[in-house]
C-alpha cells in the first residue's frame, strides 16, 4: 500500500479571549468548539457526510470539556451521526497531535476527511483541573513531573541565559505584529464569529499593540520573587477553539478544495520536564531530519510562545531567523488556549505559506511535562 498524502484544506478558529473576564468566559467550551467546527465546514463547503472522524485536543478534558467532548461537539453541531469522534490529550500539543493522527489515518487509507482541532476554556476549567492529585511517590522522585509551567519558564530563562529585557522585547514585538495583522484584517478569514449570550464576538481580546518595554518592565515577577518571567512575558490564560480540515490530497483535488499545504513530516520528542519549554528544539531537529531538510529551507515558522523565555531559547538553539517567526504574532499576544493552540499554529503556518508564496513551514510547540511536537508543511 502506498501511503497517501494528507493536506490541509481549511483552517478556522474562534476569537481568543482572556480567561475569567474575557468575552468567552461565559461560553461553554463544547458550544465554542461546535461553533468553530460548524464554521469551518461552512467556510470550506466540505460535505460533512464525508467526514470520517472528528479529533479534538483538550489539555484538561473534564467538567464541561470532559466526557468525550469531541463526540458531544459533533452532536451539538448537528453533524451526521455517521461521523466518529475522539478527544486526545497531549496538553498544549493536543490539537497538533489530532492533526498528526489524521495524517496517519489518511496515509493508511482509513478515511479521506478529518476535522482536527482543539478547545480549552481556561475560564471554566482551571489549569491542572478541578482535582489535581499528584502521585506522592513520583512527586518525591521526580518533582519536575508536576512542576508549574511558570517555574519551567524560569528554569529555561536561567539555563539558556535569556534575560528579562530580551523577553520583554520579544513580547512587545509579538503584540505589535498581532496588532498590525488585526488592523490589516489578516485574521478575518480565520476567525469564526462566536454567538454568545451577550452578542457576537468576532475579534480577539488579548492583543495589546500599545504595550511597550517600559510598561512590561514595571510588572512584578509572576513565579519567583527574584525571577525574570512576568505576566507580560507569559501567554495569558485564554479561552478559545480551533480546527483544521485534513483530507487526502486526492479528495481535496476531486472536490475542488483549496490545498493550503501538504504535511511533509511530523515529530514528537521528550525532554526534561523541568525545562519543558525547550521541547521544540529536539522535535524540530527530528522533523527536519526526517524530511531531509535544514532549517534554512524553511520560510515560515510558527513557534508557540508559551513563554517568551522558552520561545527565545528555542529560536536561539535552532538558529531561527526572527523575521520568519510568528509573522502575525504569537501566543504572548493572541493567547494560548492549551488544547486549541496546536491546530491554530498548523493552520496559521499553512495559511502563511500561501500568503508568502513560500515552500516550507514549520509549526512547533512545547508541551508540559517535557515534550516538543512539530509539523512540517509543504506548499504544493
Amino acid at each position: 500500500m502506498t501511503p497517501r498524502n494528507a493536506v490541509i484544506a481549511g483552517y478556522a478558529r474562534s476569537p481568543f479571549h482572556l480567561a475569567g473576564k474575557g468575552a468567552l468566559a461565559r461560553v461553554r467550551p463544547d458550544d465554542l468548539a461546535a461553533q468553530v467546527i460548524a464554521g469551518l465546514i461552512r467556510n470550506t463547503g466540505v460535505d460533512p457526510r464525508d467526514v470520517e472522524d472528528v479529533i479534538l485536543g483538550c489539555a484538561f478534558p473534564e467538567g464541561e470539556q470532559g466526557m468525550n467532548v469531541a463526540r458531544l461537539v459533533t452532536l451539538i453541531a448537528d453533524l451526521p451521526l455517521s461521523i466518529g469522534a475522539m478527544t486526545v490529550n497531549r496538553f498544549c500539543g493536543s490539537s497538533m497531535s489530532a492533526v498528526h493522527m489524521a495524517v496517519g489515518q489518511i496515509a493508511i487509507g482509513a478515511g479521506d476527511v478529518y476535522l482536527c482541532g482543539g478547545v480549552e476554556s481556561m475560564s471554566r476549567i482551571p489549569l491542572a483541573g478541578f482535582n489535581p492529585l499528584p502521585n506522592p511517590a513520583l512527586m518525591k522522585a521526580r518533582p519536575g513531573a508536576y512542576m508549574g509551567m511558570g517555574d519551567t519558564a524560569e528554569n529555561v530563562a536561567t539555563q539558556f541565559h535569556v534575560d528579562r529585557a530580551t523577553q520583554e522585547a520579544f513580547a512587545v514585538a509579538s503584540h505589535r505584529k498581532a496588532g498590525v495583522a488585526r488592523s490589516e484584517g489578516r485574521f478575518t478569514d480565520e476567525i469564526i464569529p462566536v454567538q454568545t449570550r451577550n452578542g457576537t464576538v468576532d475579534q480577539d481580546g488579548t492583543i495589546r499593540p500599545e504595550t511597550t518595554a517600559d510598561i512590561l518592565a514595571q510588572l512584578k515577577p509572576a513565579f519567583a520573587a527574584n525571577g525574570s518571567v512576568t505576566a507580560g512575558t507569559s501567554s495569558p490564560l485564554t479561552d478559545g477553539a480551533s480546527a483544521v480540515l485534513m483530507t487526502s490530497e486526492d479528495y481535496a483535488r476531486a472536490h475542488g478544495l483549496p490545498i493550503l499545504g501538504r504535511i511533509r513530516s511530523v515529530a514528537v520528542a521528550g525532554c526534561a520536564p523541568e525545562i519543558m519549554g525547550i521541547g521544540p528544539v529536539s522535535a524540530t531537529r527530528k522533523l527536519l531530519e526526517r524530511a531531509g531538510l535544514s532549517i534554512d529551507d524553511v520560510d515560515v515558522i510558527e513557534l508557540n510562545e508559551a513563554f517568551a523565555s522558552q520561545a527565545i531559547a528555542c529560536a536561539n538553539e535552532l538558529g531561527l531567523d526572527a523575521a520568519k517567526i510568528n509573522m502575525d504574532g504569537g501566543a504572548l499576544a493572541l493567547g494560548h488556549p492549551l488544547g486549541a493552540t496546536g491546530a491554530r499554529i498548523v493552520g496559521k503556518a499553512a495559511s502563511l505559506l500561501q500568503r508568502q508564496g513560500a515552500r516550507y513551514a514549520v509549526a512547533t510547540q512545547c508541551v508540559g511535562g517535557g515534550q516538543g511536537i512539530a509539523t512540517l508543511i509543504e506548499a504544493i
Binding site: N131, D151, A225
Partner: protein, 768 residues
C-alpha cells in the same frame, strides 16, 4: 405602610455613592445618578467611575463585590424620570441651596406621589429647601443626614418638617434603621442639626484652648481623648482623620446660619495655623500629612506640628493624664485647665441646644456617641462630673448657664428607677426611655436581673422566653479555660431548665479568640500538658455544645477570630451583625485551628460550597482560607467564605442583633434535633502533594515565608486527612485527632512562640 424596594441616589460624590453602596449592601436595587459626562459617548461615566472607585477602596463601601451589582449608574439629564421607579429618592448633590433647589424643581415635576424624597444636606434648613415646591413635594420631603462613611458610621439624623407626612418619615426611618442598619436620631430643623453643630463647636473650642494654653497637640489629644471617653484620636488626630479642610467649611456654614446670639460665634476666631496648613495642602490623612505625619525620609518616624512655629517636629509622648474625669478637670495645672476649657464650654453648649436642636437629651447623647464615637454623650458626661458642681463652676466663672441646665439643678440627667431608665425632660420631669420594638439590650437585662452563672471570663443571663445568653466578659473577650468551664456548666444548666443559648457580647468585638497570653506563658514554662489539656477541653466542650439537646445561636459583631470563629462554627445557627469580621487566623500565629475549626469549615464547604465535585476542591478552598488567615470583610463576605451557612442570618442594625439572635433561637426550639456528626472523604497524601505544590509556588513568589510553608504543611496534613486513603471514611473524631497532632507539633516550635509574642506585643503577625 409599604416597604422601600428601590432607591434613587442623586449625586455620586463620597456621600451619595456611599449611601448608594449601603442600600446595595442591604440587597435593595439602587439607581445612582450624577451629571452626564460632557465628553465621550458614555454619559453615565461619572456615576460608573464612582462605583468602580468604591470597589477598589479599602475598606470598601461595599460589603461584597456582588453588592456592587445592585447599583445601576445613570445620569441626571437622561434618567431623572426614572425616579418614578423608586420608593425613595435621596439627594446628595453639592451643598449649595441654588443647586439643590434647581434639582428639586425638576424632581417636583417628575415625582410620583407615594415615594419619599430626602436631602443629605448637613447644614441647610429644610424650610429653605422646600421653598417654592408643590404640596406633593413638600409632604414627601425630609432630611436624612448620613455621616461619612455611610457604611461604617452608625448615626443618621432625620429631620421631618411641619409639612412632612408622618407616614413618609416613618417609612424612611424604618428602612434606614432596619435595612441600612443606621441608628436614626430625630433632629429639629436647626442649622447643622445635632452632631456636627456640637462637634464643630467642640473642635474649634479645643483648638482655641490648645493655642491659648500653649498645649502641644499630643497633650491635647491625650487629655481630650480617652479620659473623656472620646476616641484616642482626640481632637487633632480626629481633624487629620476627617480632613482639616472640613473644619472651615463647617465653621463658615454655621457662622452664616446661626443667629448672632448663638454661643457658637464666640468659638470662631482667626486660626492662622489652619490657614497655613490648608495653603500647604497638609490637610490630614487624605493628603501627605496633617497635624501628624509619618516622615518616610526619616525612617517612617512620626512627627507632629508645633502649634507655635507651625513646623513639624518629632512627635512627643505626652506625660500621664488623670484617668478620672472629675480629678482631670479639677486639676490646677495646664492639663486641668485645658480639659475644663474644652468640656465646660462644649457641654454647656450642648445643654443650650435642648429643645432647639432636639426634643430631648437622649437624642443629643446618641448623636454624639454614634456620630463622633464618644463613649458618653454630653449629658452622660455632665452626670459623671455631677450636674450641680458642673453648673456651679460655670456660675463661679461667670459663664452663661443654659436654662435647661439651670432647670436640672442638682438632679441627674439620667436615673434608673426599678426596671426603667429615665431621662430628665424639658418639662422638668423624668421620662421613661423606651426601647423600640425589635431591640433587646443586654444592658437592660443586667440592670434588672442576676446572672444564672458567672465566673471571671463569662456570664450566663436569662434573656426571657427560656433563652439564655452566654456573654464573654474577659479582656478582649478572649477564650480560656474559665470560658470553656462556664460554657460547659451553661450547657448542663440549659439542658435542665431552659430552651436555648445565644452567644453574644455587647462589646465592639465578639472575641479575639483563644487567650494567647495564657498560651505564651505555658509555652515558656514548657507546660505542654496544660496546652494539650486546653486544646482537648476546647474540642470536648465545643462538640458538647454542638450535640447538646437544645439549639445554640452565635451572635457575633465586629471581630470573631480564631477560637471564637471555631466556637461559632459549632453553633446550630449564626445571626451576625452586618459588620462582622470573622476568620480562622491561627496560621498567622504559627498554629492551626485546633478546636474543631478545620473539620467544621470543611463540612460547611462540603454542604454548601457549590464547588466542582471530587475530593480536592473543598479541601483546597478550606486550605486557602485557613492558611492565609482570611478574615471576612463583612458578614455577607463571611457567607461567601462559608463561615456563615445560607440559613444563617445577618442583622444590619447593631442594636437589633441580640433581639434577632434570640428570635432565631426561639424559632429553632420547636422540633429541635441535634445534628448528626459528619463524615469526610478526603484525598489523603495525594491531596497533600497538591496543596504542597501550591504553597511552594507562593513561597517561590515571595508571598509566603519559610515558616508559613511549615505551618501550611501542618494544616494541609489535617485537612487532607493525614495518611488516610481516598477510599477511607473519616470521622469527626479522626479529624479532631489530626488537628491535635498538628497543633501540638507547631506549638512546640520556637518560631510559633515568636509569632504569638509579636502578636501580643504589636497586634500584627510577624513574617518569620
Amino acid at each position: 405602610m409599604t416597604g422601600i424596594n428601590k432607591v434613587c441616589v442623586i449625586g455620586a460624590g463620597t456621600m451619595g455613592a456611599g449611601i448608594a453602596a449601603q442600600v446595595a449592601n442591604a440587597g435593595v436595587p439602587v439607581l445612582l445618578l450624577d451629571r452626564a459626562a460632557d465628553n465621550g459617548e458614555n454619559r453615565n461615566a461619572i456615576a460608573q467611575a464612582a462605583i468602580a472607585s468604591m470597589l477598589k477602596a479599602s475598606p470598601s463601601p461595599f460589603m461584597t463585590a456582588a453588592s456592587a451589582k445592585m447599583v445601576e449608574a445613570g445620569n441626571i439629564e437622561d434618567d431623572l424620570a426614572r425616579i418614578a421607579e423608586c420608593d425613595w429618592i435621596v439627594e446628595a448633590v453639592t451643598e449649595r441651596i441654588d443647586v439643590k433647589q434647581a434639582l428639586y424643581a425638576r424632581i417636583d415635576s417628575l415625582h410620583v406621589p407615594g415615594s419619599a424624597i430626602s436631602s443629605n444636606t448637613s447644614t441647610i434648613p429644610l424650610a429653605r429647601l422646600i421653598e417654592g415646591r408643590s404640596d406633593s413635594f413638600a409632604t414627601a420631603f425630609l432630611i436624612t443626614h448620613f455621616f461619612n462613611p455611610p457604611r461604617h458610621m452608625r448615626l443618621m439624623e432625620l429631620v421631618a418638617g411641619p409639612r412632612t407626612q408622618p407616614a413618609v418619615a416613618a417609612r424612611v426611618e424604618n428602612f434606614i434603621d432596619r435595612q441600612l442598619g443606621k441608628s436614626v436620631v430625630r433632629a429639629k430643623d436647626s442649622p447643622g442639626f445635632i452632631a456636627n453643630r456640637i462637634g464643630a463647636f467642640w473642635l474649634l473650642t479645643a483648638v482655641n484652648a490648645a493655642l491659648d494654653l500653649d498645649i502641644t497637640i499630643e497633650e491635647a489629644d491625650a487629655i481630650g481623648g480617652r479620659p473623656m471617653g472620646i476616641p484616642a484620636t482626640g481632637i487633632f488626630g480626629l481633624l487629620d482623620l476627617i480632613g482639616i479642610d472640613l473644619l472651615p467649611l463647617l465653621r463658615d456654614s454655621m457662622q452664616a446660619l446661626l443667629p448672632p446670639s448663638d454661643p457658637f460665634h464666640a468659638a470662631i476666631r482667626p486660626l492662622p495655623i489652619i490657614e497655613t496648613m490648608l495653603a500647604a495642602g497638609t490637610i490630614g490623612k487624605k493628603s501627605k500629612g496633617g497635624f501628624y505625619r509619618i516622615n518616610r525620609e526619616k525612617g517612617k518616624s512620626r512627627e507632629a506640628i508645633d502649634l507655635t512655629t507651625g513646623l513639624y517636629r518629632a512627635a512627643i509622648k505626652p506625660g500621664p493624664v488623670a484617668a478620672d474625669l472629675r480629678s482631670l478637670i479639677a486639676g490646677r495645672d495646664k492639663q486641668g485647665a485645658f480639659a475644663w476649657a474644652v468640656l465646660g464650654q462644649t457641654l454647656a453648649y450642648a445643654a443650650s441646644l435642648v429643645p432647639e436642636a432636639a426634643d430631648d437629651i437622649v437624642a443629643i447623647d446618641r448623636a454624639m456617641k454614634l456620630g463622633y464615637n464618644w463613649k458618653y454623650g454630653p449629658f452622660e458626661l455632665i452626670d459623671r462630673i455631677g450636674p450641680a458642681s458642673f453648673t456651679a463652676r460655670l456660675h463661679a466663672e461667670g459663664a452663661h448657664v443654659p436654662a435647661f441646665l439651670a432647670a436640672a439643678g442638682d438632679r441627674r440627667f439620667y436615673q434608673g428607677v426599678d426596671d426603667e431608665l429615665r431621662h430628665f425632660g424639658i418639662d422638668g420631669t423624668y421620662h421613661t426611655i423606651a426601647r423600640p420594638d425589635g431591640m433587646l439590650s443586654l444592658e437592660d437585662v443586667k440592670r434588672t436581673s442576676r446572672p444564672l452563672l458567672q465566673n471571671a471570663a463569662a456570664t450566663l443571663w436569662d434573656i426571657g422566653d427560656g433563652i439564655a445568653c452566654f456573654e464573654f466578659t474577659s479582656k478582649v473577650n478572649a477564650i480560656d479555660m474559665a470560658t470553656l468551664a462556664l460554657l460547659d456548666q451553661s450547657i448542663t444548666l440549659v439542658a435542665e431548665r431552659m430552651k436555648a443559648i445565644v452567644i453574644y457580647s455587647d462589646a465592639a468585638n465578639f472575641s479575639a479568640g483563644a487567650n494567647l497570653d495564657t498560651a505564651v506563658k505555658a509555652i515558656d514554662a514548657g507546660d505542654w500538658d496544660a496546652i494539650e489539656h486546653l486544646l482537648g477541653e476546647g474540642q470536648r466542650v465545643f462538640k458538647a455544645m454542638k450535640y447538646a439537646p437544645f439549639p445554640v445561636v452565635g451572635a457575633p459583631a465586629g471581630l470573631a477570630l480564631g477560637g471564637a470563629c471555631e466556637l461559632l462554627l459549632h453553633a446550630d445557627a449564626i445571626q451576625a451583625h452586618a459588620e462582622t469580621y470573622i476568620g480562622l487566623v491561627e496560621c498567622g500565629v504559627g498554629i492551626i485551628p485546633g478546636w474543631g475549626g478545620c473539620g467544621e469549615l470543611l463540612h460547611r464547604w462540603t454542604a454548601f460550597g457549590d464547588l466542582p465535585r471530587g475530593p480536592l476542591p473543598v479541601v483546597a478552598r478550606a486550605f486557602e482560607i485557613i492558611s492565609t488567615a482570611t478574615v471576612s470583610k463583612s458578614a455577607a463576605h463571611a457567607r461567601e467564605l462559608r463561615f456563615l451557612a445560607p440559613s444563617d442570618g445577618i442583622t444590619m442594625n447593631r442594636d437589633r442583633l441580640l433581639f434577632d439572635a434570640k428570635a432565631k433561637a426561639i424559632a429553632l426550639v420547636e422540633n429541635y434535633a441535634a445534628p448528626l456528626p459528619p463524615t469526610f472523604r478526603l484525598p489523603g497524601p495525594s491531596g497533600h502533594c497538591a496543596l504542597t505544590m501550591a504553597a511552594e509556588g507562593f513561597h517561590r513568589r515571595g508571598m509566603a515565608t519559610d515558616y508559613d510553608l511549615v505551618v501550611s504543611d501542618a494544616l494541609s496534613q489535617v485537612i487532607t486527612g493525614g495518611e488516610k486513603d481516598i477510599m477511607d471514611v473519616i470521622s469527626e473524631t479522626d479529624m479532631l485527632a489530626l488537628e491535635r497532632r498538628s497543633f501540638m507539633q507547631r506549638v512546640r516550635d520556637p518560631r510559633t512562640r515568636m509569632r504569638i509574642a509579636a502578636m501580643l506585643e504589636t497586634g500584627k503577625p510577624v513574617r518569620n
